[in-house]
Amino acid sequence: MDLKQFENFREWIPVRCYWQEDRAFVDWCFLGKERLTEPFFDDSIAKRFRQPFNLLFRHQTPIEFLDAPDYFSNGLKPTGFIFHLSRCGSTLISQMLAALEQNVVISEASPIDFVLRTPQIPDQQRVKWLQNMINALGQKRNSFEENFFIKFDSWNTSELSLIKRAFPEVPWIFLYRNPVEIIVSHIRQRGAHMVPGLIGKIVPGLSFKKSLQIPPEEYCARVLGEICKNALQSLKSGEGLAVNYTELPDALNTKILKHFNVSLNQKDREKMLGAAKFNAKSPQMNFVGDTEKKKREAGAAAVEAAEKFVNPYYKELEKIRKHPPQGI
């Protein structure tokens, strides 16, 4: 491919993938030297699309275009991966990390999810696409950028083995929370993975029809159980780091960054803790703990569903967190 053509993609970022007939394509958006500081990747991109330039001019390429390692060589190597059970403080962590200019944080980016949820191509191909996509997303836009963190969508734990295959050296954490509190949060406002059928089939053996028939609390609990089960498979063998919501925000400085092999000075640590004072998903508001409120709000259905479908895994996670198996 003509190198001059690649030059036009400096400071552009892949923002979305889609199928056109039998071929995967990537949409690109001009980002320039701007940092991605919004709670989610898609929020950052939506903000850029308010600018008329980005609305009118958009590169569209086949996904194979990313397979140019010599050209896309300015990519930061991933520093750490964040997996999570949803509604458990993962956005808090990503926002704390994004508070520092040296950190590039990609949070639940749809192009990554696209690659991970494309089962119609062989795993070897998906591994390559994932490596290329993360490399393109991590292109260094400012000289002070050093670390590169990726927070996956919670349902992406189902592809943990493929992600590890693509990036075997990258340390990762799994963040979780008391499942009753998570179920209460999703009953208030469902995440995409808690709507049957929206994110494909998450719970093996549970048909779409059955998913619609069971109480929403049970469906949420089954999804959470599946995510925990997938994470536990690797955690049990001593990979990854289990982190409970109750350990936040201090755990970022005390154990997570150590696990990611990142050392920070006191000023930066304080800056990150300062970001924790705000509501991670609505940074214009102060953070207010809601554990007790959620516990009070939990109905019998949520408690029973959590007990039956998630708590056995939750107890295993807690055991591993307190007594990490050899290998960590």
């Binding site: 053509q5 030059e7 036009n8 979305r16 889609y18 949409d27 001009f30 320039g32 898609d42 939506a46 699309f49 600018q51 008329p52 330039f53 609305l55 009118l56 001019f57 958009r58 590169h59």
Partner: protein, 69 residues
């Protein structure tokens, strides 16, 4: 019709021309941006109408939201 085709061709040209991109990126305000597209389009040999740029921006916004969902 001719203006719409001209706009399409100008958009392709801009994606290949970093100088044109640099001139257009800096204009954030919508009406000023449309005016800039018309001026730079004319300099590049493409006659483009204000209505066509405005319509294209609206269409792209709708398309963006549809794909987003």
């Amino acid at each position: 019709m001719m203006s719409k085709e001209n706009l399409k061709q100008f958009c392709q040209l801009v994606l290949r021309d970093l100088n044109l991109q640099d001139q257009l990126k800096v204009t954030i305000e919508r009406e000023a941006f449309i005016a800039q597209v018309i001026v730079l389009g004319a300099k590049s040999g493409f006659e483009i109408s204000r209505e066509d740029v405005d319509l294209q921006l609206r269409e792209n916004r709708s398309l963006w939201h549809e794909r987003w969902i």
